[in-house]
């Protein structure tokens, strides 16, 4: 395989890694800065987040996801992640690269617990967000509520959604249904709750309100993250009259801040 071919495969794998808070691919968000390969089957992925403060647990899930997805490629011996310009970037990268846990980095701050519960919470939100897009598209294409609540998986699989974004989300929704074993057989309900329970016509409006609130939260974060990411690294609109562009972030870290309590002035 050519180097270009290898890189293309890696980027395709990276497309499968989601920002857990946003349920959007880290590649779409512009988080992945660079990918290199070496002769021993090693892959190095450098990534940066919108701020120095981005929640360490979200960052850790993404770092793990990158390593996991890239290492699924048969020719990759080892993938290494490098989180840059983050308050805990060096420690987290080291932990992920050595197969460690989140609690290895932040043992005192996590009471030794891992990220299982958090991961489950984000799976739920991803499910809800994807389902809302699919349902809204189906409603726009004329499906009645009664048809939606009883729709079998096989039918949803066959339907073509005309909106391209919805079509994309439908595939991702179907993937999640299967991965979480929410709907597996062709006759299983395609649009149940996350727990697999059937929706009802009477409860449909409330269910949609719930999905909407999940989306509002995720859009807030997504919108901020995109803006912050864009502006953090100076991709400002050129010619903005007289604006002093921001400095690049130094990648050095001066260690933990001093602990002394003091007051201002």
């Amino acid at each position: 395989m050519t180097e270009d071919g290898r890189l293309a495969q890696i980027w395709a794998q990276l497309d499968l890694v989601m920002d857990p808070e946003l349920d959007e691919p880290v590649t779409d968000m512009g988080f992945v800065e660079g990918v290199t390969t070496d002769a021993e089957g090693g892959v190095d992925v450098t990534f940066r987040l919108p701020t120095y403060w981005c929640s360490p647990n979200f960052a850790f899930l993404m770092a793990q996801g990158i390593k996991r997805e890239v290492e699924l490629l048969p020719w990759v011996v080892q993938a290494r992640v490098h989180l840059q310009d983050h308050m805990s970037g060096a420690e987290m990268s080291a932990a992920v690269n050595s197969g460690g846990h989140f609690s290895d980095v932040f043992n005192e701050l996590t009471k030794g617990e891992d990220l299982t519960a958090l991961r489950e919470k984000f799976d739920l939100k991803a499910f809800q967000r994807r389902q809302e897009v699919v349902i809204k598209a189906l409603v726009a294409q004329g499906f009645a509520t009664s048809a939606l609540v009883g729709m079998p998986l096989s039918q949803l699989q066959r339907i073509t959604l005309t909106d391209p974004e919805a079509a994309k989300q439908k595939q991702r929704y179907l993937t999640l249904l299967l991965a979480k074993r929410i709907a597996v057989d062709p006759a299983d309900l395609a649009l149940p709750t996350y727990q697999g329970a059937a929706l009802t016509v009477e409860g449909f409006a409330d269910h949609m309100a719930l999905l909407r609130s999940v989306r509002i939260n995720m859009e807030f974060s997504g919108s901020l993250c995109r803006g912050l990411k864009r502006n953090r690294y100076m991709e400002l609109v050129p010619g903005a009259d007289g604006l002093t562009l921001m400095d690049f972030m130094p990648s050095i870290d001066v260690g933990p801040p001093h602990t002394q309590a003091k007051h201002c002035g």
Partner: protein, 341 residues
Amino acid sequence: MFITPEGKEIFVVDGHTHFWDGSPENQANIHGKQFIDCFYAYHTGLSPKEELWEKSKFEKYTPDNLYNDLFIDGPDDIAIFQTTALNDFYKTGFGCIKRTTEIAKKYPNRFIVNGTFDPRHGEKALEWIHFMKETYDIKGVKVYTAEWNGASKGFKLNDPDAYRCFELCDKLGIKNIHVHKGPTIIPLNKDAFDVHDVDYAATDFQNLNWIVEHCGLPRLDDFCWIATQETNVYAGLAVAMPFIHSRPRYFGEVMAELLFWIGPEKILFGSDYAIWTPKWLVEKFWAYQIPADISAERAGVQLTDEIKEKILGLNAARLYNIDIAARKAEFAMQPMSIAAE
């Protein structure tokens, strides 16, 4: 004062403003630089192009800039200073109650200065609250739960140390607790934006008003649930406001949720100056209507003129016992050239 196109005077209380020093000279370490850089990215990310500031001005602006942007150029009648200390990141603090008090003294009745404390300082925090009450007669505080303190990367409102501070606030009549939920809570393996500690604190301290900044976003649903149950929980609109420009439909969805769940009496305007300036925010807000389809999904709620007036000033005036008629009369007598002194 904001004057509507029909000529009506709207009294504006800006519930969230800062006077900070984020300049390189005041930065104690890389974290201080990263913090102001992050604020600047918020500013550049969500402001209209014609409202952008240069970085150096953003890092450190003058009291004249502040007065002008809020009261001369801007529509504010009264602004509430929220002190964000960040003593681990800045040599003399990012915000500082002493510095803001000096400005407030220069412009009588224009500013309400809120203090801040860090419950992790234990006894010292209690002494500090006493000091702030005696020295500055504060009516409120801002607590920033994501603030670092040595090895600690944040705290919860229902931590025992925090409760001791709130007990003291209650006793001293420091009634308004502005809560800023940042992206870090303990334990660090849990949802970083969780707002449920507000629920505990608001239940246990019924005499205090809990104003949750950026209305709990990105956990708006949890926030609405809590604020619907707890009569003493309010939504501060700082950071949500600028979406009115960049994503107006989205802003409508947030406002529809808030109006539907918690109602128009418990929502407070805040510009988060100097991240954003109040002039364009208030102008756009007054001209804004929630899109019909979004409103229809939430029982037809709408931002009427009456509701906007509450959000822009009346609600905060109630929490801070502001005598609007007296202040209006007083400000009308002030020559506007005061800023040039």
